[in-house]
Structures are given as structure tokens and as C-alpha cells.
């Protein structure tokens, strides 16, 4: 759109409403079409109905699992692991990030260690963790922590590096102590970055968690559910699980944390470029 056209844009209010309703309807229509075609193709026998059970059968199975309470157990356990791991990642990631961003010793110690550990695929730790801490929630929680922590550290460091030195000068000239600078300048200053870090980190963490559950969970968790189902070849459960994993992943990353991020961008006018 040309510069002139963008200036004109706000005047067009009515079509905007129509565009908004279309932007809500469009995903429903396009995803709905995929399921509809799938349903018809499976029922008509154009595709292998064992490998691709019709969506209606998947929904029915999910409903049954939900009624039996099994499904809620799987979801609850996955979310518990995600939240615990994320909380650890946010706390330690922020602390390490601040140490790297603000202190010479932090940079000297952590930067090389991070460069050494970051290239290791997160899931490669799973077997080692299984031996070290055993088959329990701690293994999956640590995998979530590893997956999210690097992202949190990275964004916190870039947040601190992006802060103007003048902010510190202003605070120091007002006579602020180190502690006051930390609480009143650094922490609020890195907040938008931290939220972006949490959003990206939670995306990575969710993906890692599902894989870790397939590898390590002895019971419960969505990842365990679909892997376990493959042993019994209950395809409806696998597809239902994949669908739930996708929906939860989307909602966690784009709706819950995404809303938070949008609110901070609106409030502070800080857009974190990643």
C-alpha cells in the first residue's frame, strides 16, 4: 500500500469490521474443510480408514476418553510438567540472563558454557536423565526446563543489551542504589523481552515435552498417550492426541502468552524483534 493509502486507511472503518469477522470465519472454514474432506474420503473408502479414521470417529473416541477421566489425567499431567519446567526456566533463565547482561563474571562464566550446551539437541539428554533421576516427572520437567531456559536467557540478555545506558545514568543521578536500579529499572525494562522469551520458550518446551513423554513417561501425559496408543494401534487415540497437542500448543504460545505479549507491546510500545 502506498504511503498515501496508509494515511487514508483509518477512515475505512466499516469494511474493517467485515474484514475482522472474515478473519475469524476464515480459519474455521479452512480447517473445517480439511476435516470435512477427510471425513468424506474416509467414509467413502478413498483413503485407508484404518490409517486415517474419520474425524467423527476421532471425536467420539476423545469424548469417551474424556468421560472416563483418562484424558483429563493426561492433559493435567502434561500441563503440570510444562508449568513446573517453565517456572524453573523463567526463574533461573532470568537470573542467568541478568548475570550475563550486567556482570563481567557472569559473562565470562556462562557465555562459554551456554555456547557449549546449546548445540546439544534437548531430547538427547532424556536417556541420561532417565538414568540420573529415574522414570518420573522430574525427567520430563528437566527436559522442559532445558528447552525453555536458553530462549529465556537469550531474550533477557538482548533486553538488557537493548536498554539505553542513559537509563542507568538517569537513575544513578537520582541517587538510586544497586538494588533500586535492579527493581525499578532492570526488571521492568526486561519485562517485554522476558515475555517474548516465555512465549518462544513455551513453544519449544511444549514440543520437547511431548517427545520426552514419548521417550520417558511411564504413565500419563499426552505424549505418552499417543505413543502408548501406537502399541495397541488405536489410531483414533493417536489422532485425537495429536489434535489436542496442536491445539494446546497453539493456545499456550499464541493465545495465553501471546495476549500477554500484545498487552505489553501496547502498554510500553516495545516490540521485541525476534
Amino acid at each position: 500500500m502506498s504511503a498515501d493509502a496508509t494515511i487514508l486507511a483509518p477512515v475505512r472503518s466499516r469494511p474493517d469490521i467485515r474484514r475482522l469477522s472474515l478473519s475469524i470465519a476464515r480459519p474455521l472454514i479452512s480447517i473445517g474443510t480439511v476435516f470435512l474432506v477427510w471425513e468424506v474420503a474416509a467414509r467413502a473408502g478413498w483413503i485407508n480408514a484404518f490409517l486415517f479414521p474419520p474425524p467423527s470417529a476421532i471425536a467420539a473416541t476423545l469424548w469417551q476418553e474424556l468421560l472416563s477421566g483418562e484424558l483429563l489425567q493426561h492433559i493435567g499431567r502434561s500441563l503440570y510438567r510444562l508449568l513446573t519446567g517453565m517456572a524453573l526456566a523463567v526463574v533461573f533463565g532470568t537470573l542467568i540472563g541478568i548475570a550475563i547482561g550486567m556482570t563481567a563474571w557472569g559473562r565470562a562464566i556462562f557465555k562459554p558454557l551456554i555456547s557449549a550446551f546449546m548445540p546439544v539437541p534437548t531430547l538427547a539428554w532424556t536417556p541420561v536423565l532417565l538414568l540420573l533421576v529415574g522414570i518420573n516427572d522430574r525427567t520430563t520437567i528437566i527436559v522442559v526446563f532445558i528447552a525453555a531456559a536458553f530462549e529465556v536467557i537469550y531474550t533477557v540478555v538482548s533486553g538488557i543489551e537493548g536498554m539505553s545506558v542513559r537509563l542507568f545514568w538517569v537513575a544513578r543521578s537520582m541517587g538510586a542504589s544497586r538494588q533500586q536500579i535492579f527493581w525499578k529499572i532492570i526488571l521492568p525494562g526486561i519485562m517485554p523481552y522476558l515475555i517474548t522469551g516465555i512465549r518462544l520458550g513455551s513453544g519449544y518446551a511444549w514440543r520437547a515435552l511431548i517427545a520426552a513423554e514419548m521417550l520417558a513417561a511411564s504413565s500419563y501425559g499426552l505424549g505418552f498417550m499417543i505413543f502408548d496408543a501406537s502399541e495397541y494401534m488405536t489410531m483414533e487415540v493417536i489422532y485425537g492426541g495429536i489434535l489436542l497437542i496442536a491445539i494446546f500448543g497453539y493456545v499456550i504460545e499464541n493465545v495465553i502468552v501471546g495476549r500477554l505479549e500484545a498487552a505489553t507491546v501496547e502498554k510500553w510500545g516495545v516490540q521485541v524483534a525476534r
Binding site: M1, S30, I31, V120, P121, A124, V128, Y250
Partner: protein
């Protein structure tokens, strides 16, 4: 040679030596914490503070790596087989992903209407870990290369697709206008503007795609490999409580991941996007 020039060259020499010294100092400073960690670890195991059968000392890991690399040993040379198998799987998955994602990305990026209708489906698939498809693939194809390569393909295809779309959509209208006012036809616009303008985004997409393929590979091999691959090696070693082998695998995964980036993408970037950015970053990267 005038005294001025002589002095100048002496100064230059001094600066070059200083730069070399500076670089060496930085390398040492960089390696120091890593070395310290390894030493503490080694010391802790030897002092009996950590159980060596659960957390083996670095020296034990190195010894096992040598053992696994030793071709003369009947059981040796296995590591190379694992590495070769893993590389073959990851690279072929990546190649398939590129072949599918780049044309599809251009199609979706160029057509606003198609993009608007397809993007909801893509954003639903995006947060899904590629590994989640493994159960279905296991039922359909069983364990083996087909399942592993398909999972890695699914891991690599979305970053490449996404970056291609973003790259194509970020091409400014004006740069297309410039060549159209020179009398360019669609082919000219595509080859001379669209393709090169998309390249920087594409490059980061390729890098990300390869990284995803490599990271997904481990999990896929743990779940679906029959006999070889680094992921299989690590997972199999767990059954024998062979922790040194597991660490050898982890180090191999990290190092090969870095080598791929360094030898595949850095030269590619130097030849293209980095050249355009100019010779501003003469000194070290970053």
C-alpha cells in the same frame, strides 16, 4: 623506504601481533569455564563424590570415544557407522523438505488469497512437534528409515516453508515496480527480484530447518531406529547402563550440529547475503 612508511609498517605489524594475541586470549578465556567444569567433574568422580557408573568422568568418556572409533577393534568403528547413518537420514530429510517447502512457500507467498486460506491450517500444524507423528508412522511403516526420515522431514519443512513465505511477502512493492518500469516481464521479476530478495529469509529458514531436522532426528531414532544412528546408540546404551557411550553420543550430536552449520551455511552466507551487507564486519563474527 621513507621513515614514515617504515614506522607505519612497524605499527601495522604490532597491531597484527596484538590482534593475534587478543584473539588467543579471548579463546583461552572462552574455554576456561568449560575446562573448569570438566575438571571439577573429573575430580568429583575420582574423589568418589559422584558415582562413576551413573556420571562417568570426562576421561572415561574420551576413552570410550577412542574405543568406539577404533576400527581394528572388532566391536570398534561402530561410532562412524552411527554417525554416517544419522547424517544420511537428516540430510535426506532436509533435502526433501527443501524441495517441498521452497516451491510451496513461493506459491503461498505470491498469492495472498491462497495464503489467507491455507495459513490457519499451517498455524495449527506449527506448534505440533514433528515427533508427535511418530506413532502414526510407526503403525503405517513400522520402525526404520522411512519413519525416521519422514519425522525429520516434518521437523524441517515448516521452518523452511514459513521463512520462504515471510521472505516472499516482505519483498517491497516498490522493488517490483522499479523493474516493471524497466519493462520487466514476470520471469524477470521472479529471477531478478523475488528470488534474490527472498534469499536472506530463505537462508535463515534453511539453517533453522536443518537444525530442526538434526534435533528431531535424535528423538526419532530413539523411538524408531532398528539398528543404528546416534539416537539409537544413546538409547540402546541406556539398556546396558553404558553411560560413557551416551555422553559420546551427546557430544557427537552437538559437534556435528555445529559442523553442519559451519561448513554448509557459513560459506553459503558468505557467498550471498554477507557479501551484500558489505565488508563492515571484517573482524570476528557477532
Amino acid at each position: 623506504m621513507t621513515p614514515d612508511v617504515a614506522e607505519g609498517s612497524a605499527l601495522l605489524k604490532e597491531r597484527v601481533t596484538f590482534a593475534l594475541f587478543d584473539r588467543a586470549a579471548r579463546t583461552v578465556k572462552f574455554l576456561l569455564p568449560i575446562a573448569a567444569l570438566l575438571l571439577v567433574w573429573e575430580g568429583a568422580v575420582r574423589a568418589g563424590l559422584a558415582e562413576s557408573n551413573i556420571l562417568p568422568a570426562p576421561s572415561m568418556v574420551i576413552a570410550r570415544a577412542i574405543e568406539l572409533l577404533d576400527v581394528t577393534n572388532p566391536a570398534g568403528g561402530m561410532l562412524l557407522t552411527h554417525i554416517a547413518t544419522s547424517l544420511y537420514r537428516a540430510l535426506s530429510a532436509f533435502a526433501f523438505a527443501v524441495l517441498v517447502a521452497i516451491p510451496l512457500g513461493f506459491l503461498l507467498g505470491l498469492s495472498g488469497t491462497v495464503y489467507r486460506w491455507v495459513s490457519p491450517v499451517i498455524s495449527l500444524l506449527l506448534p505440533l512437534p514433528a515427533v508427535a507423528w511418530t506413532p502414526i508412522l510407526l503403525v503405517a511403516f513400522g520402525q526404520g528409515d522411512v519413519t525416521i526420515i519422514t519425522v525429520c522431514f516434518l521437523g524441517a519443512v515448516f521452518p523452511v516453508l514459513y521463512s520462504t513465505i515471510q521472505g516472499v511477502r516482505s519483498v517491497s512493492r516498490q522493488s517490483v515496480w522499479v523493474v516493471r518500469s524497466m519493462g520487466a516481464n514476470f520471469g524477470d521479476i521472479f529471477v531478478r527480484v523475488m528470488l534474490p530478495a527472498t534469499l536472506p529469509a530463505l537462508m535463515s529458514g534453511l539453517k533453522l530447518g536443518m537444525a530442526h531436522a538434526w534435533r528431531t532426528l535424535v528423538a526419532a531414532e530413539m523411538l524408531a531406529a532398528l539398528s543404528s544412528g546416534l539416537g539409537y546408540m544413546i538409547f540402546a546404551a541406556r539398556s546396558y547402563m553404558d553411560v560413557p557411550t551416551m555422553f559420546v553420543g551427546i557430544v557427537c550430536l552437538a559437534v556435528i550440529g555445529m559442523l553442519i552449520e559451519h561448513f554448509l551455511f557459513v560459506p553459503l552466507e558468505n557467498a550471498t547475503t554477507r557479501k551484500w551487507e558489505g565488508a563492515i564486519h571484517v573482524g570476528g563474527r557477532r
